[in-house]
């Protein structure tokens, strides 16, 4: 086919050649043989090349028109990227209150090459930016560089004033600045970012990826109102008892949502660098402490749930326990047989230890693991402390007995409140969260104890408020149930003489708990109103009581009158008032028989902690309150 074409073209040339020459320009030089065929093919292929160029230019034209005229998909992409690259999503509380946001601010810079009179410019800027040093500014403006920062993050008023000066060579660069409208109130929780907008603490760090480039705000489970109440009440307690710090949490026991998480002292998230390290230490999640008698809540729940003891059962607490060179005794010993409600309400170490000894080490470990006491809390913060307890192989009988009343194991407040929530909510353990959970996102929960055990525990905790150490935690009508604990703090390898941790765990309302509250006050010192006491009943209980009193109405909870059947607690009648004069017999509970400095865990230290300095919430009846402190 091709060959025939070539012949035809050749014939045409032949015909042309035979004609008389009129226009020399039209006459083609005579190509010969091989070269002629090559030319023919070249001409055909040339058309293809021209065609390709044609297509290329048409594509460019079309694209040019599209990019220039249409606000097309690509432009939208560019615009979206711009927003994403500068923005960082807000953090809001469960009701939409802004906890962290990004603002665009103007920063002033100069091109010194365009500044003709540096001194005059510096002088004119001085009244607008009083913190700007005019001499240094004049030096900067006299340099040969093309860029120098003058002041970062001007207020809009300052920016307007600088604009009004109309000085050529001054420019604004728009930057985004992270703002924490709640300041100190959410510092430990929300955390902060570095100057490049990268989260380096708290929610800002744990959700850094989601916040960066995210446009939808991150909604936390925190209720800023409850956070404020906790912050205020805890601050009051710390101030009143000259404590060094404290922490408090509120949790929805049905969902695991954290409504409040406060750690004191705190800091201004706008200037985290200015705060001392202690202020940046999160006592609620990173700090792990021995939680003292509050652990009797778990101990009693384990005893009841494992069936080794019943609500009507009990143990002889008339004599201290001597084991392995240690003596376990009671702070306010009754020196008689105590029923389970009495052991819990009077906070008997002897009874609790015997109860634990009854169900044994393995049962204790199994339940504590299910209560989340043996693992780091899964709360979504970077600052989470791992619990401390004897290794599972070193977990001896003595450990089982001291852990029964909260010594020899150190956990975080976040772990504690999650466990307490499981105790009172019907027995289901849920992972704590600081993110708001929608109704369909609530996890089913892992059953830890039976519903009946949970009901019994609510009654026991309510009894502690009605008849025991937590009277100051009561909020009339809201059926608060609590357990207090006061533990000597470990300092190095021994227990401190006069440094305590006052802890309280509560839930309300006891007939059908909705919220759990946990608070701890670090190293409270007795004050003039506390009759020499700095125990949890005096220090931490009022925090919980005041918080419930203020929080419950916000959540539309109606007070339940004392006459209401739901408010009745038959256990209260079975337990004599803790304050009754004959119940008082302060003495030292634990005395060291033989030092065994076997150091890994607190409980096996040379001195067993003086546990549970649970005391009266009214004036003590005995002679010298100061003496009772000194006595231990």
């Amino acid at each position: 086919m091709k060959r025939r074409n070539d012949h035809m073209r050749a014939d045409k040339f032949a015909a042309q050649r035979s004609q008389p020459v009129i226009n020399p320009m039209a006459l083609e030089a005579e190509p010969e043989g091989r070269q002629k065929r090559a030319l023919e093919m070249g001409h055909t292929r040339l058309m293809l090349g021209a065609g390709l160029f044609c297509v290329a230019f048409l594509v460019i034209t079309a694209r040019l028109a599209a990019v220039t005229l249409l606000p097309g998909e690509d432009d939208a992409g560019v615009a979206r990227q711009k927003i994403a690259s500068t923005g960082r999503a807000d953090v809001i509380d469960r009701n939409g209150v802004v906890l962290a946001t990004s603002l665009t601010t103007a920063s002033l810079y100069a091109n010194p090459r365009q500044i003709t009179d540096p001194d005059s410019v510096a002088k004119r800027l001085a009244p607008i930016l009083p913190e700007l040093n005019p001499t240094a500014t004049a030096t900067k403006l006299s340099s040969d560089r093309a860029f120098t920062w003058l002041w970062r993050n001007l207020t809009p008023k300052q920016q307007q004033a600088v604009n009004n000066l109309g000085i050529p060579g001054l420019y604004f660069q728009y930057e985004t600045k992270r703002i924490y409208p709640q300041g100190n109130l959410t510092a430990h929780l929300v955390g902060f970012t570095d100057i490049d907008g990268k989260g380096i603490a708290g929610v800002e760090r744990s959700f850094d990826d989601a916040l960066n480039g995210g446009t939808r705000p991150l909604q936390l489970s925190i209720d800023i109102r409850v956070q404020h109440i906790m912050h205020e009440e805890l601050s009051n307690a710390i101030r009143d008892f000259h404590a060094i710090g404290g922490a408090g949490m509120v949790m929805d026991v049905r969902t695991g949502e954290v409504l409040s998480l406060v750690s004191l002292p705190d800091f201004d998230p706008a200037q985290p660098g200015a705060a001392p390290a202690d202020a940046r230490f999160n006592r609620a999640t990173l700090g792990v402490f021995e939680m003292g008698s509050t652990f009797k809540t778990f101990n009693t729940a384990i005893g009841l749930d494992s069936g080794t003891v019943s609500m009507t059962g009990g143990y002889d607490a008339s004599k201290p326990i001597r084991i392995g060179g240690f003596t376990i005794s009671d702070y306010h010993g009754k020196n008689r047989f105590l029923t389970v409600p009495e052991i819990y309400a009077y906070s008997s170490n002897i009874g609790s230890a015997k109860m634990a000894d009854d169900f044994g080490t393995e049962t204790q470990q199994t339940y504590l693991r299910r209560f989340g006491m043996l693992e780091k809390s899964s709360i979504e913060l970077p600052e989470v402390g791992a619990p401390m307890y004897p290794g599972l192989k070193n977990w001896k009988r003595i450990n089982t007995m001291t852990i029964a009343y909260g010594h020899g194991i150190a956990v975080s407040l976040a772990q504690l409140i999650s466990g307490i929530s499981a105790v009172v909510n019907g027995g289901d353990m849920r992972a704590p969260t600081i993110l708001k959970r929608q109704p369909d996102q609530i996890p089913a929960g892992q059953p830890v104890i039976s519903e009946q055990t949970s009901i019994n525990m609510r009654a026991l905790m309510r009894t502690v408020v009605q008849e025991g150490t937590a009277k100051k935690a009561d909020a009339p009508g809201y059926l608060v149930g609590c357990k207090t604990g006061t533990a000597d703090k470990l300092q190095g390898h021994t227990y401190a003489k006069n440094a305590r941790m006052a802890v309280i765990v509560c839930s309300f309302p006891s007939n059908n708990p909705r919220y759990a509250v946990a608070a701890l006050v670090d190293e409270p010192v007795p004050n003039e109103h506390s009759y020499g006491y700095a125990t949890a009943g005096w220090v931490a209980a009022p925090v919980a009581g005041a918080l419930v009193q203020r929080m419950a109405p916000l959540y539309g909870m109606a007070p339940i009158p004392d006459s209401d059947p739901a408010a009745q607690n038959p256990l209260a009648a079975l337990v004599a008032d803790y304050d009754s004069p004959n119940s008082k017999k302060p003495h030292s509970m634990v005395t060291q028989v033989k030092a065994t400095a076997n150091g890994a865990t607190p409980a096996t230290q040379s001195k067993i902690p003086v546990d549970d300095q649970e005391d009266v919430t009214g004036p003590p009846q005995n002679t010298d309150p100061g003496a009772s402190i000194a006595d231990e």
Binding site: E28, G42, L46, C54, F57, T68, D75, Q81
Partner: protein, 374 residues
């Protein structure tokens, strides 16, 4: 317009009546637009790199008469003289390119430049058109002279050139030289099977470059996935097109030149779009299309194989450079670092382009059939 009498037999008179005045006019229009755009784009760049704001403008304007002189001077020559010059030039610039690799200064990760006296030259820019002439000669010799293994010599020369360019490394130039040479080979009658094989090798070469040169990997990744990596330059360029709209923001009102490091060279098209709008951009595209297509279509009537191949090579190189520059500005392909002929600022590149079109004009002059003795 006509200042020469048709009977004027002087060299200039002959030139005037035989040169392709349409193409010449189009080229002068490009030079004019380039002279305006360098005023728009280069002061911002000059200030940013610490020069006097009109330094680059003065430099460009000083080079324009030189470029014009080169273009006219070369176009006056006979095809035979041009071929001789092209072939000799090819060997000179090949040597200079070797020297750049041995002694050149490294700028932005590549050694492409060499100082000759006061001139700072990029010899590979000149290698491109002279190699096109050399290759055309070899391809045509294959057909006209049985004793000369034209294809083999051309292939060998191509391998040397590409080897040198990859050594610098200069992938943009390598691809233009490759495509140009391949187009010539194609026109010269490369069997279809080899055309297919060649396209395969070319694609393979690109893949090889992608995995071998980190900066190539980066640029292609950026193109394929706009979210990955830094797309700052291309995003700003697209913004400029969108800002410009139909009529542009007006001369001097552009913002993209303030932020793009190569606003006066690689991204001059975006500056044109922002300040002068779609209409001026379309005029630029139309001029390039006119020059390229007119030259190619005129060759359909050309019966001298060497001239056909040489013009194809020169025009393809010229056209590809324009297409690649505009297409990268428009994010149709990865950015290549290539100037827009006559529009971009650039000393070496301007001279080389002037040489290219000078030779193009020389080859496309009307001749008495058979008068070309090659």
């Amino acid at each position: 317009m006509s200042t020469f009498s048709r009977t004027d037999r002087s060299q200039l008179g002959q030139w005037w009546w035989t040169v392709d005045r349409w193409t010449l006019g189009a080229i002068l229009a490009l030079i004019f637009i380039g002279a305006i755009l360098v005023l728009a784009a280069s002061p911002a760049v000059a200030v940013r790199i610490g020069l006097d704001s009109f330094y680059l403008v003065r430099h460009h304007y000083a080079m324009l008469p030189v470029a014009l002189a080169i273009m006219i001077g070369v176009s006056v020559m006979s095809p035979r003289q041009v071929r001789r010059m092209g072939v000799i030039g090819f060997f000179i610039f090949l040597g200079l390119t070797v020297l750049t690799i041995l002694f050149g200064q490294e700028i932005k990760g590549a050694t492409r430049w060499i100082n000759i006296g006061p001139l700072n030259l990029q010899p590979s820019e000149f290698l491109k058109p002279t190699f096109a002439v050399f290759a055309a000669w070899m391809f045509s010799l294959q057909h006209s002279d049985k004793r000369v293994p034209g294809y083999l010599i051309s292939i060998a020369a191509y391998l040397v050139v590409v080897g040198l360019l990859m050594k610098q490394p200069d992938l943009g130039m390598t691809s233009v030289v490759t495509l140009t040479w391949f187009a010539q080979f194609f026109i010269a009658g490369l069997p279809i099977i080899w055309v297919v094989a060649g396209i395969g090798v070319g694609a393979g070469g690109l893949v090889f470059a992608y995995f071998t040169f980190p900066h190539v990997t980066e640029r292609i990744d950026q193109f394929l996935d706009p979210k990955a990596g830094d797309n700052y330059q291309i995003d700003r360029a697209l913004e400029a097109f969108s800002n410009g709209g139909l009529y542009g923001r007006g001369p001097g009102e552009g913002t993209v030149k303030l932020v793009l490091p190569d606003a006066h060279a690689d991204f001059v098209f975006a500056v044109a779009a922002e300040e002068f709008g779609l209409i001026v951009c379309l005029v630029i595209v139309a001029i390039f299309a006119f020059i390229v297509l007119r030259s190619l279509l005129r060759m359909v009537g050309e019966n001298n194989l060497f001239i056909l191949l040489a013009v194809t090579g020169l025009v393809t190189g010229f056209g590809l450079q324009a297409v690649i520059n505009m297409a990268s500005s428009l994010h149709l392909m990865p950015t290549k670092g290539m100037t827009l002929p006559f529009i971009s600022y650039g000393g070496s590149s301007l001279m080389a382009i002037a040489l290219t079109v000078g030779m193009l004009l020389a080859f496309t002059r009307k001749r008495f059939p058979g008068s070309v003795d090659l």
